[in-house]
Amino acid sequence: MRKTGVASEERQPLTYLEAIREGLREEMEADESVFILGEDIGRYGGAFKLTEGFLAQFGAGRVIDMPISEAAIVGAAIGASQVGLKPIAEMQFIDFIAPAFDMLVNFAAKYRYRTGDGASIVVRGPCGGGGRGGPFHSQNVESYFLNVAGLKMVAPSTPHDAKGMLKAAIRDPDPVLYFEHKYLYRRVKEVLPEEDYVVPIGKARCAREGDALSVITFGAMVQRSLQAAEVIADEDGAEIEVIDLRTLNPMDDTAIVESVKKTNRCLIVHEASRTGGIAGEIVARVNEYCFEWLDAPVRRVTAPDTPVPFSPPLEDQYLVQVDDITSAARWMLAY
């Protein structure tokens, strides 16, 4: 039996990756219908060793190594969901979700509307750049799916949220795409609550309070935006508010609108490329709901419209850096 009431200082901080692992394990321990499937997740323990030990603990019936076919992985998960199981499909890198596009868009997303019952699946995978992974192992894919009604999307930025949102996703009756930023895997750590907790889908988080400008962001860009906010606070004396969206669909309009109405300035930061990126959608909403509260044009800081480069200097140039955020923020503050 687990000891309860242990003071939190005795609990070890967990990395983002460990938090996901712990969330997966707890849900599988608690609910026999939860199982995982993906490439190399069993015997090998996953490309990032996230599911190491799972095969031994849960057996081959609930930790299924799949052939290299993402369409088959997601298709099998959807089928399993229709007989009452709760599958969690892993994309070894989220870039590889493309072959499963049809399964997600035309099957998973549509079940709720066709039959009244959702396809209760989670599709999770490591996203994002900064790891010198090049164009096929560094992408952010959220905007491919943003136009698809019926797919929920989450992108946690902290170990706490990573675990809590994974649980929320698993318990959700509809398909959830779960984007875990691999740059954060081993770079952020925190002590998590001992009790079972869930971070609800659809609720943003205020990562830093401020009154001068709102940065709307998510994923690894939360850390970077917080760094930029500290620079601006130190050097310019202006307090920037950072809103961590956490859920990309359905988006927490209320949190965005409340913050923008307070600060009157809105800067959107995301890692994916610019055109058709999620920032465009947020700009539209801010324009629709907050036009008369704006004291400066809404702006975006994003990657340019190219694939993620291999070369380290080029990748650094491609990715949004702290300076990119501070210079956009300064321009807006002076406007």
Binding site: N264, R274, E292, W293, L294, D295, S327, A334, Y335
Partner: protein, 441 residues
């Protein structure tokens, strides 16, 4: 005659220096405004740089092939024009307007100019209309605040880029109490200027002899706003008032009956909740009372947001919190909202949002003993209902004198859109609902 400096323009946010690759004009040449005078090269773009002004190129300070920092003076042009007028600073604003990310947006090829100590000044290419000037000098939130406070933005000095008036500027201006006196044209002394939509109302202040022991004090900001608002309303609307007497026996009995039950929910049931309910039913039947006039158009509001005038303590002012979506509330919901807004108004804890968006207003002079009033319309609404004292009166019923709980209601309406008959239909409906108020669960 003035000398204008040509400076190395900033060709992009991250560009700090540029190389002069070729001078196309020589010393002594006459140059036209926007005529290319040199080529520069930076690590992101190569560009022809146009002359910022028309004049004579009198000095070249940086030779071909040399690299200098952005902002360095590279040449001087002598012009006929007054320096202050020709001074423009376009590069900073246009460079700043380019996207922040590393996308290679082409930078505009315009020379930045600094003429002596002349301050930056926007002008030139923008539209010359008043609307255009406002647009270039303010942002949506600033225009909204300006409209709410009757501030003429074009009279403010802005601290933003190109002299743009920022939210901070206008709030400081308003807080400084400057909104009216310094914001308004300073015409002849003895005139009061009150902003009304798109215009200024000029009122001659009557001569007042201030004697030795008289006390003179500045109006509070709230007092000034009320003054402006009332004068503006009187000027804009065609006020007509009509008085009805309403029997409160039915509502009085219902109130006695429901009061204990409402108290269990922590809600004080007042006559006002019944009156708001009756007003809402009447507004729904006669929607022209729940409307606004915009030029030659009538806006029929789909929301029913009823404002209730609340006197601040000791008559120090008046504020009108608004019951939003009042038509969706039950009697209990209305009573709760009235109580809550009233408390917050008296303790000065209303949010800006609480006092905006009203579509009809109720005021209650009866609580101070008034028999009935002819209130002034709360713009941009078209009707306001004044509640007189609710008290026992002798009345003739079936040729007998009876003692009944009664009140005079005075409706002031805007004759621009509400005719007398319509106003009285509305009041008849209010009377009918209150005198036969339905039993509510």
């Amino acid at each position: 005659m003035a000398r204008v400096d040509v400076i190395m323009p900033q060709m992009g946010e991250s560009i700090v220096e540029g190389t002069i690759t070729r001078w196309m004009a020589n010393i002594g040449d006459e140059v036209k405004r926007d005529e290319s005078i040199l080529e520069i090269s930076t690590d992101k773009v190569d560009a022809d740089i146009p002359s910022p002004v028309a004049g004579t190129l009198i000095e070249i300070l940086v030779d071909e092939g040399n690299t200098v920092e952005v902002g360095t003076v590279i040449a001087r042009i002598e012009t006929e024009a007054d320096a202050a007028v020709s001074a423009v600073e376009t590069a900073k604003t246009s460079a700043a307007a380019e996207p922040a990310a590393a996308t290679a947006a082409p930078a505009p090829a315009a020379a930045a100019v600094a003429a002596g100590p002349a301050p930056t000044k926007i002008d030139g290419d923008g539209p010359g209309t008043r609307e255009g000037r406002l647009r270039s000098r303010s942002t949506p939130v600033v225009r909204r605040i300006a409209a709410e406070h009757g501030v003429d933005i074009s009279r403010l000095t802005g601290s933003g880029i190109a002299g743009r008036v920022t939210k901070k500027d206008i709030l400081a201006f308003i807080e400084g109490g400057g909104a009216l006196p310094s914001g308004m044209p300073t015409g002849a002394p003895g005139m009061l200027y009150v902003p009304i939509h798109g215009d200024t109302l000029e009122i001659k202040i009557p001569d007042v002899i201030v004697r030795e022991n008289d006390r003179v004090e500045e109006m509070s900001v709230m007092r000034q706003r009320i003054m402006e608002h009332m004068l503006m309303s009187r000027r804009i609307s065609a006020h007509v008032s009509s008085v009805f007497e309403i029997d409160f026996e039915r509502v009085g009995a219902l109130r006695r009956k429901l009061k204990p039950r409402f108290e269990q929910d922590g809600v004080k049931l007042t006559y006002l909740a019944f009156i708001v309910k009756a007003v809402l039913e009447s507004l729904k039947e006669f929607p022209v009372l729940n409307a606004s006039v915009v030029g030659r158009k009538v806006v029929y509001h789909s929301d029913y947001n009823v404002g209730m005038a609340v006197a601040m303590d000791a008559g120090s002012g008046l504020i009108v919190p608004v019951i939003k979506g009042a038509d969706e509330l039950s009697l209990l919901g209305l009573a709760r909202r009235i109580q809550e807004l009233g408390e917050r108004a008296r303790t000065r804890q209303l949010d800006p949002d609480d006092v905006q968006g009203g579509t009809f207003t109720i005021t209650n002079p009866g609580v101070f003993g008034s028999l009935f009033g002819t209130p002034i319309i709360n713009q941009p609404q078209v009707g306001i209902l004044g509640i007189g004292a609710i008290e026992k009166r002798p009345v003739v019923i079936d040729d007998m004198i009876a003692v009944r709980l009664r009140s005079y209601f005075g409706l002031t309406f805007d004759h621009r859109v509400v005719d007398g008959a319509m106003g009285d239909f509305f009041m008849s409906k209010v009377k009918e609902v209150l005198e036969d108020f339905p039993e509510e669960s």
